[in-house]
Structures are given as C-alpha cells and as structure tokens.
C-alpha cells in the first residue's frame, strides 16, 4: 500500500477533511432538490461524518504515532 494510504498520511488526512467539508456543502446546498439528490439527505451527513472521523483519527495518530499500518488499527479494534 502506498504511503499516501497509510494511517499516518498527512495527504490522506487533508483529502478526508476537504472531502467531508465539500460533501457537507453539497448536501446542504442540494437539500431541496428532488430525484436522485434525495439520496444525499441520508448518505451525505453519514459519509461526511465518516470522512471527518477518518481525518480526525489520522490527525491524532500523527501526534501520537500509535499506528503505522491499517492492520495494526484493525488488530486494535478487533
């Protein structure tokens, strides 16, 4: 797995936070639209919350150096 995808990647943290904020924005701005946009009402906040959690997790991991790889994270959460 490339360094970009590791749990201590600054790049992945930035992408996750920017994506979360962008998705929140799209969800808020498209809330009154009909059709397929309705899916955003349910999925948008959940997905952006998950992305923001990922960003926060990587941020904390960058400070604490607890995990280097995702298998270490899964092992801890197991």
């Amino acid at each position: 797995m490339t360094q970009f995808l590791q749990p201590s990647s600054v790049g992945l943290m930035c992408v996750a936070i920017v994506a979360a904020v962008a998705l929140t924005g799209v969800t808020a701005f498209a809330w009154d639209r009909r059709g397929g946009w309705l899916l955003l009402r349910a999925a948008g906040p959940l997905l952006s919350c998950a992305l923001l959690t990922l960003g926060a997790f990587i941020g904390i991991n960058l400070i604490t150096s607890l995990f280097q790889t995702w298998p270490e994270v899964w092992g801890y959460l197991r």
Binding site: P45, L52, I60, T64, S65
Partner: protein, 375 residues
C-alpha cells in the same frame, strides 16, 4: 473543566443535542438557508466527533490538562518520592564483578558532550537467532559513537505501549532530542538505545510474553526481546556486555514488558524503567488468549515474581498522580520490591496516561540510569 472531566462530556453532549434540535427547528427558517444548513451540519459532525474523543480520553484518563494536549509539560511538578539504594548491592549481586563497573573517563565525557548533537537514529531489521523473526527496530547511536572505535556504550532497550511500534519512542516521545540534550548537558553518559518491535504478529498485542503455542502459535515475544535483541545488538554494535549495562524500559504496556522481562531474565537485564506500567498481563481482545494454565499467568506477573529470590535489580517506577489506576498499580508493586533491589519512584502531579507524562518520566528515568551506571 479538564479534558477528562465528566462536566466537559456533559457540556459537549448537551451542545450536540441542542444543536441538533436547533437545526431541526430552524432547518427551513435560516436567514441564509444553504449557508445555515451547511454550518449546522458541519457543527453537529464536529461536536459528535469531539464527544467521542472526550469519551475515549475519559475512559483511560489519557490527557488530563489542556496544556498537555498541545504537548506542554508545564505544571507536572515531578517529585522523587522514593530513592532507595542498596548499600549491599554489589555484594549480593552474583553477576556483577568489580571489573564490570561502568566508568567513563573525563576525556570520553567531554567528547560525549561536544558531539551529542551528531547522534543518529537508524532503522534496522533484527533477525532473531532463536525465534527466526525478522522484525523492525530503531537504534539510537550517540554522537560520540563514531569518535572512538573501541569504546563500548551502555544500552537502553525501550519498549512502546500498545498500540505502538518501533518508532513510538522517537516519533512520540522525541527520544533523540531528549538523549542528545541530556548527554550534551552532562546529565548522563552517551548511551546506545534500541527500540524493537514487540509484537511478532502485526496488529496483535503480544504483551512481550511467550504465548502458549497451543493457543497462539508463533508468538515468542519474550524470547525475541530478552535473547535475540540483546544478542543482535551486542554482535553488531559496541555496547556493554554485562547485565549492568543493559536496562529495559517502557511506558504503559511497555512498562509491564520492562518489569516482566527484567524479573524473568535478571541475568540479562540490570533493571527496569517502568513508566505508568502494570504488573499482571492484560489478556483481552487485543491479545487473544495467551496462556492455558495458571502457572504461566503467575510466571508472567511481576507483582508475584518480584517476591521470588532473584539477583539484585534496579527499578525506576513512575506514574501521574491524576491517574488513579496507574498510581495504585505502582503503589502495590512498590510495596513488594525487596530491600535487596534498588528502587526509585517518581510521580508527577498531572500528565495522565499520556506522552506528556512519559516525556517527563523518561527524562528522570534516563537520569536514574546514569546514576546506577555511576555506582
């Protein structure tokens, strides 16, 4: 209101609930509807995550002060509350002889201090002769290591907590700059430090023990750490050859590892530096089953093995007074340390179970190592 307080948890939960309620009520009535919705959604998400972070922090009393969150060690107020040396130490120690006494000449000390900031941290792979494991490690070489190609150095073996890895001491506790500064200041002689990976099965907490092969094949962490690592370091680097030149230390799970390894192998290690440690193996979902019978459990419980007859060891124990669990563990073990062992106990007023405390505790531990080397 501290970061681990119930009041903070309640405030954040109340704010989250209030904001969710306000958002529902105002959803179609924001003056700038889209921007209002955007702000409300984002704020609720941030508060939900903050609530989770505070709950995790409260569960272990990790960070207990606000300055601590940004890494400040102000207000920790470290105090040595026990400093017990054994006058009879050398006479009761069958391993140490007069020739083993560690000595650095004034010239060597001068080079230590002047070259301190030329230190290096190298990533290596340690292949275990007994276990066959090839696991990563980091090695700290003091600046004066290159100055004299015959001189040997004392060795610190440092274990991380769990979760943690071979980089934790350097990345999390700034080991290199801490040792450089202490050596440059003359607070300790130059030392080599090795930080080995302690979990042979990646992602699984080994607790640094040899798991029963019937329940956990392929996890001989104890043999790897107490035999393979010292042997590898001694055959590849110029470090001391006696147990008095080798101290094992660690924080949290690494602290338990240090106490357990030193007591199980008192002919390998001269002592243990136990920072916020515990003294019975923690077997849980992160370790999986480790032992099959009570004798294995007892043999890996420093709180019990400390009572057994053993060559004199030196212990440095530390905890933060605002982490009740760590303090109780320390107090129980401290009571069991026999008078034939050296003991120094340090506590800090705050710091919790976190890097903030361990930065301060480990510096005191390194100074303690310098003291026992000089004796």
């Amino acid at each position: 209101m501290t970061p681990n307080s119930l009041s903070l948890q309640i405030v954040i939960l109340a704010a989250t609930a209030g904001l969710i309620a306000l958002s529902i009520v105002r959803w179609n009535r924001f003056r700038h509807r889209r921007i209002g919705r955007f702000g409300a959604l984002l704020a609720v998400q941030v508060l939900l995550i903050a609530s989770g972070v505070v709950a995790i922090n409260r569960s272990g009393d990790y960070y207990t002060t606000w300055p601590g969150i940004v890494g400040s060690t102000a207000g920790l107020n470290p105090q040595v509350i026990v400093d017990r040396q054994t006058a009879a130490r050398r006479s009761v120690d069958p391993v140490r002889s007069a020739a083993d006494t560690w000595q650095t000449t004034p010239a060597e000390r001068a080079v230590d201090e002047s070259d301190a900031h030329r230190s290096k941290v190298e990533a290596v792979t340690i292949r275990g002769a007994s276990t066959g494991y090839s696991l990563p490690a980091e090695v700290y070489l003091p600046g004066s290591y290159q100055a004299n190609d015959t001189r040997r150095f004392p060795l610190l073996q440092l274990q991380p907590g769990y979760p943690g890895n071979e980089r934790s001491w350097t990345a999390y506790l700034n080991l290199q700059s801490a040792l450089d500064t202490m050596i440059a200041d003359g607070a300790m002689p130059a030392v080599v430090a090795v930080m080995p990976q302690q979990n042979p099965i990646r992602g699984r907490d080994s607790e640094c023990v040899n798991a029963d092969p019937k329940v956990h094949p392929g996890s001989l962490a104890d043999t790897y750490l107490s035999h393979d690592v010292p042997q590898y370091i001694r055959s590849h680097l110029r470090v001391g050859r006696t147990r008095q030149d080798l101290i094992v230390g660690g924080y949290s799970t690494g602290g338990y590892c240090a106490a357990n390894l030193a007591l199980r192998h008192p002919t390998v290690y001269g002592g243990a530096m136990v920072l916020s440690g515990y003294f019975r193996t923690i077997v849980d979902d992160t370790t999986g089953p480790l032992f099959t019978d009570q004798s294995e459990v007892d043999a890996n419980a420093p709180i019990m093995t400390i009572r057994r007859r053993h060559p004199s060891l030196a212990f440095f124990l530390s905890a933060s007074r605002d982490n009740r669990e760590d303090l109780q563990q320390l107090a129980r073990f401290q009571q069991q340390v026999p008078p034939t062992d050296q003991l120094e106990v340090l506590t800090t007023a705050t710091g919790g179970h976190s890097s903030v405390a361990w930065k301060v505790h480990s510096r005191a531990g390194f100074a303690w190592f310098a003291k026992i080397l000089a004796r």
